[in-house]
C-alpha cells in the first residue's frame, strides 16, 4: 500500500494545493546521549528542591499573612450614610445583597454564603457607605448565621462572627528576585 493512501483527506487536499505551502512537522526522538542528559537534569532539579526547599505555601492557621491595603475582605454598611439607591443590589454578580426597608429607605444586608468578595458593591456605592475589613476567613456554625440582619451588617465582622483561631506570627509577602515570593515575619 502506498503511504499517501493512508493520509487523512484533509492533508491530501493540503498537499494537492502545493507542497511548498504545506509544512509537515516530523517529530524526531532526540539522540540517546541527549535523553540521558535530560533525565539527569530533571532528577537533579528535583533533588535540588528536596535538599533546598522553596515552599510557596504558608502554614496557614499557624502563620498568618498581613494583607495589603484595599484587600477584598468582609465589609459593613453605614446605614445612616446609605441613600437607598440599590445600586449595590443591582451590580452584585452573586445575588448576595438583599435590600430591607428601614425608615422608608432600602438598606442592604448580605448573605455571606453567596458573597464572592468581588467588592463591586463597595466600588459602585456613590456615598461610600461600605467600610471594608481585611477579614475573609470566617467559618459559620449554621447556614442561617450567614444571612445577616441589618443590625449585624452595620457592625464590623469581628462582632458577630465566630472567633477565628489563627495562632502564631503574622507574615508579610515580599517579592524576591530569586524565588518569586518570600514571607517576612513582622512582630
Amino acid at each position: 500500500m502506498h503511504i499517501s493512501e493512508e493520509l487523512d483527506p484533509r492533508i491530501k487536499e493540503l498537499i494537492s494545493r502545493g507542497t511548498d505551502k504545506v509544512k509537515i512537522l516530523s517529530v524526531k526522538t532526540p539522540p540517546p546521549g541527549r535523553v540521558v542528559q535530560r533525565n539527569i537534569d530533571a532528577l537533579a532539579t528535583g533533588f535540588k528542591y528536596v535538599v533546598k526547599p522553596m515552599r510557596m505555601t504558608i502554614d496557614y492557621p499557624y502563620k498568618d499573612i498581613e494583607y495589603p491595603d484595599g484587600y477584598r475582605g468582609m465589609f459593613r454598611v453605614d446605614a445612616d450614610k446609605c441613600i437607598g439607591c440599590s445600586l449595590c443590589d443591582i451590580v452584585c454578580p452573586a445575588d448576595a445583597i438583599r435590600l430591607v426597608l428601614r425608615d422608608k429607605k432600602k438598606v442592604p444586608t448580605i448573605n455571606w454564603g453567596r458573597c464572592i468578595f468581588c467588592h463591586f458593591c463597595v466600588d459602585i456605592c456613590p456615598v461610600e457607605a461600605f467600610e471594608t475589613y481585611k477579614v475573609h476567613d470566617v467559618a459559620f456554625y449554621r447556614f442561617e448565621d450567614m444571612l445577616t440582619t441589618l443590625q449585624e451588617f452595620t457592625k464590623g465582622p469581628e462582632e458577630y462572627t465566630p472567633p477565628r483561631k489563627v495562632i502564631g506570627k503574622k507574615f508579610r509577602v515580599v517579592i524576591d528576585e530569586n524565588r518569586g515570593l518570600r514571607y517576612e515575619s513582622i512582630g
Binding site: G46, F47, V50, T57
Partner: protein, 341 residues
C-alpha cells in the same frame, strides 16, 4: 558458612526464625518501613512541588504519624462489596496478592552465618518465581470487580507485567550466571571476593532497577493505577480495610524487590565485620534494610520528577530497549564469568 551450635541448635533456630519473620526483615520492619516510605513519598512530592506535604498529625515530627492516622481510618471505614462482583475472587484477590508479595522474605537470607527460615539451595530462582505470581491476583481482582476502570487497569497490568518481568528475570539471572550460583548467600560471598554486582555488571543493575520501578507501579510507569485516567486501576471498587491492603501491596512488593536488588547488586550485608552469630544477624539485616530503604527512597522520589508514560510507550520501551539491554547484560556476564574463576 553455618556455625554448628550443638544442643542449642533447635531453640536458636526457632528464636531466629521468629525474629526473621516477625521482626527484622519480616512484618515489623515491613510495617514501619512502609509507613515511613509513604510519608517520605508524600513529603518529597510536597517539597518538589513547593508545598509542605503531610504536616498536621504530629507537627513536631513533620507529620510522620499521618499514615498511622490514615491506617486507623481505613480499618474502621465501612467495607462495601458492590452488587455484581465475583465475591470470592473479589475478597481473596488482594489478600492473596499481599501474601504472595510478602512470602519471599522467608527465603531471603539476611546474615552470612544463619540460613533463612526456609532454606532452598536455589532460593534466588524461587523468590523470582513467587514474586512473579503476585500480578496474577491483581488481574483477578480487576476482573472480579465488575468495573470498567478496574478491568482496563488489570489489562494494563497484564501487558506491562509481561513486558518487564522478562528483562528483570534475565538481568537477575545474568548475575546468577556471573557468580555461578542461584543461592543468595553464595552470591553475596562471591561479591565479597570480587566487587559489588552493580560495578561488575552495571547494565544489569540499570535494567533491574527500571523493571523494579515498573513492576511495583512507581512513576514513570504508574500506568495500571493511573489516577487521572482509571480512578485507582484494579482496586477502584475497594474501600475501607481492603483499600489499605490494596495500597500496601505495591509498597510491600517494592520492599521485597529492593531487598532482592540490594542482595544481588549492592552486596547485601557486605561491609559486615562481626563474626558473632547474633551480631551478624542484627547488623547484617540492618545493613540490608538501609540499602533497601535507600532504593525505595529513590523509587518514590521519581514520582515528583516524572510524568506518566502512555501504555504503548511503556510496552515499546520494555520490549525494545530494556529487553535488548538485559540481553546485552547477559552476554557481558558470560564474558566476565570466563575471567572470574
Amino acid at each position: 558458612m553455618t556455625i554448628s551450635l550443638g544442643p542449642l541448635e533447635i531453640p536458636t533456630r526457632l528464636v531466629y526464625d521468629f525474629l526473621h519473620i516477625f521482626i527484622l526483615p519480616g512484618f515489623g520492619a515491613v510495617l514501619i518501613l512502609i509507613i515511613l516510605i509513604i510519608w517520605a513519598e508524600r513529603k518529597i512530592a510536597g517539597l518538589v512541588q513547593l508545598r509542605y506535604g503531610p504536616l498536621h498529625v504530629s507537627r513536631r515530627f513533620g507529620g510522620i504519624l499521618q499514615l498511622v492516622a490514615d491506617l486507623i481510618r481505613y480499618t474502621f471505614q465501612e467495607f462495601i462489596v458492590p452488587r455484581g462482583v465475583d465475591r470470592i475472587a473479589y475478597l481473596t484477590g488482594p489478600v492473596l496478592a499481599l501474601i504472595f508479595a510478602i512470602i519471599p522474605i522467608a527465603f531471603i537470607p539476611v546474615s552470612p552465618f544463619i540460613e533463612p527460615p526456609i532454606y532452598v539451595s536455589s532460593n534466588m530462582l524461587l523468590v523470582l518465581a513467587i514474586l512473579s505470581m503476585a500480578p496474577i491476583f491483581i488481574i483477578i481482582t480487576g476482573y472480579a470487580s465488575d468495573n470498567k476502570f478496574a478491568f482496563i487497569g488489570s489489562l494494563r497490568e497484564a501487558f506491562l507485567m509481561i513486558s518487564y518481568e522478562i528483562p528483570f528475570i534475565i538481568s537477575i539471572l545474568s548475575m546468577a550466571l556471573l557468580f555461578k550460583s542461584l543461592d543468595m548467600s553464595v552470591v553475596v560471598s562471591s561479591q565479597a571476593n570480587y566487587l559489588p554486582g552493580v560495578i561488575l555488571n552495571p547494565l544489569a543493575a540499570l535494567v533491574a532497577y527500571i523493571a523494579i520501578i515498573r513492576i511495583t507501579g512507581r512513576f514513570p510507569f504508574e500506568i495500571s493505577e493511573a489516577e487521572s485516567e482509571l480512578v485507582m486501576g484494579p482496586y477502584t471498587e475497594y474501600s475501607g480495610l481492603m483499600y489499605g491492603v490494596a495500597m500496601g501491596i505495591a509498597y510491600i512488593k517494592l520492599y521485597v524487590y529492593s531487598i532482592l536488588y540490594s542482595i544481588v547488586f549492592l552486596g547485601g550485608w557486605l561491609p559486615i565485620l562481626s563474626t558473632n552469630l547474633v551480631e551478624s544477624y542484627f547488623i547484617g539485616s540492618f545493613i540490608i534494610l538501609i540499602k533497601a530503604s535507600l532504593l525505595m527512597l529513590i523509587a518514590v522520589f521519581l514520582r515528583s520528577v516524572y510524568p506518566r508514560y502512555r501504555v504503548d510507550q511503556a510496552i515499546r520501551l520494555g520490549w525494545s530497549q530494556v529487553l535488548i539491554l538485559s540481553i546485552i547484560s547477559l552476554i557481558w556476564s558470560l564474558i566476565l564469568s570466563y575471567f572470574l574463576r
